[in-house]
Symmetry: C2
Subunit: 704 residues, 2 copies
Amino acid sequence: MEDIKGIRTINLREADPDKLREQLRHYFHQTCNIEEKLYETLADDSVFYLRADPLRHPLVFYLGHTAAFYINKLIIGRVIGERVNPAFESMFAIGVDEMSWDDLNEAHYDWPAIPEVRTYRGLVRARVDKLISELPLDERGITWESPWWGVIMGIEHQRIHLETSSVLIRQLPLDQVRQLDFWAVCPEAGQAPENALLPVEGGTVKLGKDDSDPWYGWDNEYGSAAFVVKDFMASKHLVSNAEFLEFIEAGGYREQRFWTEEGWSWLSWQQASLPRFWKKADDGFKLRLMACEIPLPFNWPVECNYLEAKAFCNWKALQTGRPIRLPSEEEWMLLRDGRVKTDQPLWDRAPGNINLEWWASSCPVDRFAFGDFFDVIGNVWQWTETPIYAFPGFKIHPIYDDFSVPTFDGRHNLIKGGSWISTGNEALRKSRYAFRRHFYQHAGFRYIASDAQLTDHDEAAESDPAIIPWCDANWGDNPLGGKNIDARLVELLQAWIAPLAGGKALHLGCKTGRGSFELARTFASVTGVDFTTRLIRLATQMKEKGYIRYLRNDEGEIQSYVEKQLADFGLETTAARVEFWQADASNLLAKFSGYDFILAVNAVESAINPGRFLRDIHKRLNAKGMLALADGWSWDPEITRAEDRIGGFRKDGDPYPAFQGVTEILEPEFVLLTAPQDIWQTLRIEERCHTLKKLHLSIWKKRN
Amino acid sequence: MEDIKGIRTINLREADPDKLREQLRHYFHQTCNIEEKLYETLADDSVFYLRADPLRHPLVFYLGHTAAFYINKLIIGRVIGERVNPAFESMFAIGVDEMSWDDLNEAHYDWPAIPEVRTYRGLVRARVDKLISELPLDERGITWESPWWGVIMGIEHQRIHLETSSVLIRQLPLDQVRQLDFWAVCPEAGQAPENALLPVEGGTVKLGKDDSDPWYGWDNEYGSAAFVVKDFMASKHLVSNAEFLEFIEAGGYREQRFWTEEGWSWLSWQQASLPRFWKKADDGFKLRLMACEIPLPFNWPVECNYLEAKAFCNWKALQTGRPIRLPSEEEWMLLRDGRVKTDQPLWDRAPGNINLEWWASSCPVDRFAFGDFFDVIGNVWQWTETPIYAFPGFKIHPIYDDFSVPTFDGRHNLIKGGSWISTGNEALRKSRYAFRRHFYQHAGFRYIASDAQLTDHDEAAESDPAIIPWCDANWGDNPLGGKNIDARLVELLQAWIAPLAGGKALHLGCKTGRGSFELARTFASVTGVDFTTRLIRLATQMKEKGYIRYLRNDEGEIQSYVEKQLADFGLETTAARVEFWQADASNLLAKFSGYDFILAVNAVESAINPGRFLRDIHKRLNAKGMLALADGWSWDPEITRAEDRIGGFRKDGDPYPAFQGVTEILEPEFVLLTAPQDIWQTLRIEERCHTLKKLHLSIWKKRN
């Protein structure tokens, strides 16, 4: 094997700093070298300016991009202070993804000459090489927090683009590219094997990597999640061109019933009738490879997007009467782990067509066996049913904060297993990449038969600006210092509620539930109620999954992704004692009664009918039960009609504060236990901008 | 003199508690008695339900109102705990003033029977009498803070209504009222004396009463103001019916040119052609008195509203070519104090037709001489040019917080001097009553000739919800405790600015000027600049008058009137060193330069063009000058267009905070002196609801 191909991602915990430094230097240069080799495929420099895909930048952008990325990340990580070429580092910074047509208007871009970009690449390469020589390194190796992380991130980023650019080159006109020996395609082709469904035994799958993992990972790979996977059947082979042709010939691209709505919409827009790289010729089908065209090899894996793969499965399901679909991420992993016992950095030679260790193309689907299955990894990526999501424990790497989060939108499905050109992190067991479902990579699929329900990972970080401040108020730090407001409130109540320990509590205005969980340290059962469904959804997620995520607004358009775990607050044991309901506090169902204690936070001021709420509340309490009101008496005209307010106006000529109204309503049923006190509540709008409420806390005891 | 008339308001500082208690009891009962006497004028109880004025309640309301007022004020003052009749105390609470027609819809009211109201009055009278017996009293007497204040306020309130009800009775049909001997009218009538303008020597007038004044005062009488009044001429007599008739016969009610816009608008609406109580009869004019009609006495003072008095003056000015107008409050007081050497509680018998010591009507304008002038006090109230305003030092009495503030609107002009039925506080030298300019009381006028400019008291308390929070932030307490933010900010800067003492400072985003005044403790000259004219107006008022007023929002519709004085902060001596300008910080005139120090607070985030502001700012500073930025980096899309922001967005794919933008712009000209620090800024929206900003404070030195 040539030194430039089949490179392994390096062990970042190598304890010998000199060795690690040189391994990294080698990895860096070989990454640059292989990328240069890729671009040699272009007929000449003018091809860099052609747009291979109508919604993507021309390749000149990517030529500059992988170099500029190092500098941009090292600048933002404060590893280096000086830019190499500020104009290039701005021009080549963003635009990797599919764009909208107006963003791509070429009038916005004045691409530089290729020699200039090559010179720039050389300067960056020298700068990074120098940095590799100079950055301090010790026996702890390179960790997520290390300034070195920007270097290894740059290398792995470049390796991703090695693959994505190979796809773009594959989309260029054939006469603009050259088939080089270096990128030799697999010479093997023939009839496809008969596919078959073979059993996969169920089991528990653990996903996610922890900080001790020695190999580079993108932020979305960290954290942990566990799944119990049922037994299923999986196709022995990846779906071959021959097998996919059956679908086409059965009217696959003409019959809407096989397609998801999204799929049919894409097909109609694209006028697609064949997979993207197939071409119908007089003498049958051709297959476009990266730099050449060959007769369609029937025994190679079909390459398609998720939407086509899914339509195939639906057709197959109808045809066979079996629950055919794509595997979920965890099903895919269960199948893999039973059959691949090694990982890229550790293997002698790749057990499949991956890591550029075999060919610069796919190969027959029966070429690489892994037990009774073939192509468990390698050859082409395999689409899954799972939209990418964050594992619990996910955190963003600060120097590349939008690598993953924008893809947690339910519209990017995971691809697994890697292709012939997947190298570096891409070829690792724990890598996770996701693309829009209509996107093309060197990707195909294996189908499975299973009636197991797919796990819903609809846990996109909360982004509603009306909801986020409550996430932060409930689970974030108190910006004024001291205890979090909900924890503090329950602490203030402790002396009063201690005698009620083991009883039943109702928490009105529970928001995302922090106070309810806190109350459940004392009470045997706590019901959290809020009028806002989105808040209750988060409270319930916290109970059921133990975490919530939200996008916190930091400054202007800058946001942070935040995950909060119940366990971080020592509240995981309370979850079983808490339940949440969406309800209007002014109009509670009869079932919300029999409580020993009621805590109502911001509940009067945000009640639709605060008078009815207060007149009714005693019915919810057991005899001698207690009621705590923590309220700002600040009415929202969108919620409480002026005529339904119970104070905060002039009555018979004199000021009539809300608490006077509260007192007059409650007094027949309650006695005020102690002088009310004030407690500050902050709602974070931005890092430097908050809403501050001085809550008025009063504690009442039901007379009988 | 009968014991029921000619009563004097009592000395609240009487040191003998028993004596004071009995004086108060006597004053209370005689006040009730005289009011009863007034209502005896009505033909029968049915008259209580007639509406004397189409925009006022019928007299039944006032019958209940003066009693209910005692209970309402004693309840809100927490002097008593139990109401006498909650329904009555609500029904009779509000509606004294002119109302809009829909508020008066009688369908809203179900007035009780008169015997019921009389019974209620009896109960209240007994309750107050009992209170007078029981409330503790010592040698300090009765002060503003005393629970007794509600009692004396109730009595004085009843005495106001004695007069205002007499005006309403005067508006009832003649056949519905009875002329009683008790309310005997003046029998003297005849030809009017020739009026003449006599000189009044100018001088200094001090207005306002302090807490040591022994006689009851309404809150608007307290505080102090001083004026230098120029010499002027004043009419020897009040304007008589005869003199006013000249105006009428000269087309006074037909020619718009004599009238103010407001006056003409009123006249057109009312279709007025004569003063309200005149009636044209076959045998000449009649004059309606409270309970009878008499031939118009030409030598009695005309009674009219301000608008008519003003039109007369304008006519007279045109006719004579002299600057004829009504006196201001201070001119009126200068004239009075030179001629009336006593005050109601101290005189043996009233020196004029006032305090019910002579007749139950006006009398001839040449009946009571005060030196060379007549009717300096008494006979009828005298309209002035001065809309009522708060003296510096004004504070609201908490049990009647809307007695005065609603009249500080520039639409209520002061009347002075009292009428024949002005008793109690109304008859005191320092009393201040004001009515809408179209209102009728027993009021006429004296004209003066003066070319002195009228003082503009346009100091209505600031009520703009966008401005008030800045008043409070600048001059109020820090709701989080500790120093006021502006004082704290200048304190934090002290070490840096001390070496620049005696120099010149610019304060951008000065709001209502607190920071500018604080900086002027150090600098010889401070220029405060803000973009918002209303803020600069307040800052300028603070400099020029030493105080500002604003209506603070407390809770819902409940507001507090707040006055802040420069002297309270020890800043009065700095005022001469400070000046304020309205200007756009992004586009400052060249004159704003040559500074040693610039403090810009919230100035970047609220700049129209923050980039231009920052690029330009070094030109304003002397060499080695210093710049302090305290900013929340929180853009308002109404002010700063998205494309003009200098941070708070993603740039080339990475977060680009505003301070990074600031740093890049400032660095060529400035060096950052120290690590930025945070300082909390609160903006009070309501007592329990604030906006909280964490300002980022950075200090820069100009390179050269």
